[in-house]
Subunit: 369 residues, 2 copies
């Protein structure tokens, strides 16, 4: 069985469909992040209305709170959070870089220290897969060992090799049952190491492969070079997922290289700070310029924020510390990225992705800042 | 023209309809509070879906931020906040008790000091009416001078007399144009003074009369005695509004006395603290008891929170500091009070309000705490 089909290509860019137990995911796809089993500030029906097919939750965070057992008893993650569409869960690997609460990492696995109560949580590659399967995720991610930008080459190499050993163990623990398991390629910031890691992970015949450990502070050129080196070694018939990317022009650059899936906290994090995404760049709704702007964030956007409210009203809500502001801009920002992916899919199908990308990049570059 | 019609009575309780330019208000009515032109955490479509017909905004707060001019230029308060149904605005009188930022109060009016930027805002009775009319409110409230519970009788009497002089000036400033202007009766905590104030205000032929300065810390028996003394002097053909009441059994007690309208911040404030209203009393969703409770807040409630989410999930959201928790419990709590008013209207129409009230009070009293 094959869960992924490429429907059309345009250069290296492609559009396709990933079939999961909870429905199809149209690619290129942007996945909003719901770390704690909720996309910050949004109701699941609103998330769906943005046009996204799939969201990301974090099995590591959910294992700490409220616990895998509890969600399993609640009927699984979909039912717990009332989202009946596809869910991809991250394994916790990324937390080996981003969290300070890691007690030990060795070949057996990682021991985390809960930031909530100081308790310890041991996660082996097998645990990571089992936890995600018990949550009921549609797409499970291997436990990997990424490294921070600037890590010494020897340490980066060792982490990539560990990622490979863990990937083999995760692959052996594939739960089947219709769930999809994605490997994660690493390789630090060396193109040869990236290519080798992608080749190794691709050879384990996962349902898809993620490119991990990028967009962590390196220059954009480096990021794209590492992506290209990885993609070149990946099987064309499997989905490719760039972990942690969420700005318009970088998303389109990665789509151009043949990447199919993305996730990022940027749209909700920016929203919290009053920053709205538009085809002409970011707009700060806290700025005085919005005070008497009675137009919407984006007149072409069909979201509830743009349909109902002016920039002046949203600014008033931010000034007053009102939650509706955070809600509406989160909704808008995710809608913006969902529509960007939708437009990319159409452009690829119509064979004009390069023109589409150039037009979008041009609007971003020419916008007044 | 008469904007209010009593459709049925049952003892002193009555059900009726207040007609405004933006639609009818079925009474008894609960009005959620949207101080800053937003009911905290909720989208206006959600507020409407709770079953309420009208909401309350605060002209004093809106005059300070974002300013009456700005809202007027935005097309008025309804358009600014995207709520096309009735709006009642409070004048700022209540802030003479609740705010510390009052510079001076004399017969001419009050001078407020903005808590946001220290600027001074002078509000005369005429300003209060004019500000509310410029906002586009359907129901405008007079500027009044309430006093805190425990105020010396002389000071209470002076404030009530000032309230009467201000009421005459507000009445003379009635903007017409389909807008309704309500007087506010005071009288402190003396039944004779309450009766005299209600008689005076009722004599000014407002479109409705509010009972102000109660539910500010006095015993419930006192509150109800003051309410009864006031209602006895009010014209039966005009709506009666108890300012600031929002708990089930007190609402039903006031309805039994013939009160038609209510507002309160309690449902949204409780929600923020994780406390949900049910026919059996308040439930704290932060308590350990909710941890593995996979049922909804109230199985009989049709709101989105009860339709989609378990108490266990909502508790997880509160534990994680997630906004969706605040949203969902706000939605539920307002729905709860809207349904209470709806059930009261039905019971009055069917002539069984006393039985209905006894049954509801019985469930509250017999509930395990």
């Amino acid at each position: 069985m094959t869960a992924f089909a490429v429907d059309a290509t345009d250069g290296d860019a492609r559009t396709g469909t990933l079939v999961t137990v909870h429905g199809p995911v149209r690619t290129p796809a942007f996945m909003p992040v719901g770390t704690h089993a909720t996309v910050k500030a949004l109701h699941p029906d609103e998330v769906r209305a943005t046009g996204v097919d799939i969201l990301l939750c974090n099995a590591y965070h959910l294992a700490l709170r409220p616990g895998i057992d509890l969600i399993e008893r609640a009927g699984g993650l979909h039912r717990f959070m009332d989202w009946e569409h596809p869910i991809l869960t991250d394994s916790g690997g990324y937390q080996l870089v981003s969290l300070v609460e890691v007690a030990t990492v060795d070949d057996d696995g990682a021991v985390f220290v809960s930031p909530y109560d100081g308790s310890r949580l041991r996660v082996t590659p097998e645990d990571a897969v089992s936890n995600q399967a018990r949550l009921g995720a549609d797409v499970l991610m291997c436990l990997d060992h990424p490294v921070a930008h600037g890590t010494a080459p020897d340490a980066a190499r060792a982490a990539t090799e560990r990622t490979h050993r863990w990937a083999e163990r995760c692959r052996a623990a594939h739960p089947g049952d219709g769930r999809l398991l994605f490997g994660i390629a690493q390789g630090g910031f060396d193109a040869d190491a990236r290519a080798a890691s992608a080749r190794f992970i691709s050879g384990l015949d996962f349902d898809g492969v993620a490119i991990g450990g990028l967009s962590v502070g390196e220059p954009v050129d480096t990021m794209l070079a590492m992506t290209a080196a990885s993609v070149a070694e990946l099987a064309p018939g499997r989905p490719r997922y760039f972990m942690g990317l969420g700005t318009d022009s970088e998303l389109l650059a990665a789509v151009a290289l043949g990447v199919d899936m993305f996730d990022c906290v940027v749209p909700t994090r920016l929203a919290r700070n009053g920053s709205a995404l538009t085809p002409c760049g970011r707009v700060s709704l806290r700025n005085a310029a919005a005070r008497e702007d009675f137009g919407p964030i984006d007149p072409d956007c069909p979201c509830a924020a743009c349909a109902g409210f002016s920039r002046a009203y949203l600014r008033h809500l931010f000034q007053s510390g009102e939650i509706l502001a955070h809600r509406m801009v989160s909704l808008h920002n995710i809608t913006h990225l969902a529509r960007l992916m939708d437009a990319a899919r159409v452009a690829i199908r119509e064979g004009c992705f390069a023109e589409f990308r150039a037009e979008r990049d041009g609007r971003l570059l020419s916008a007044p800042r």
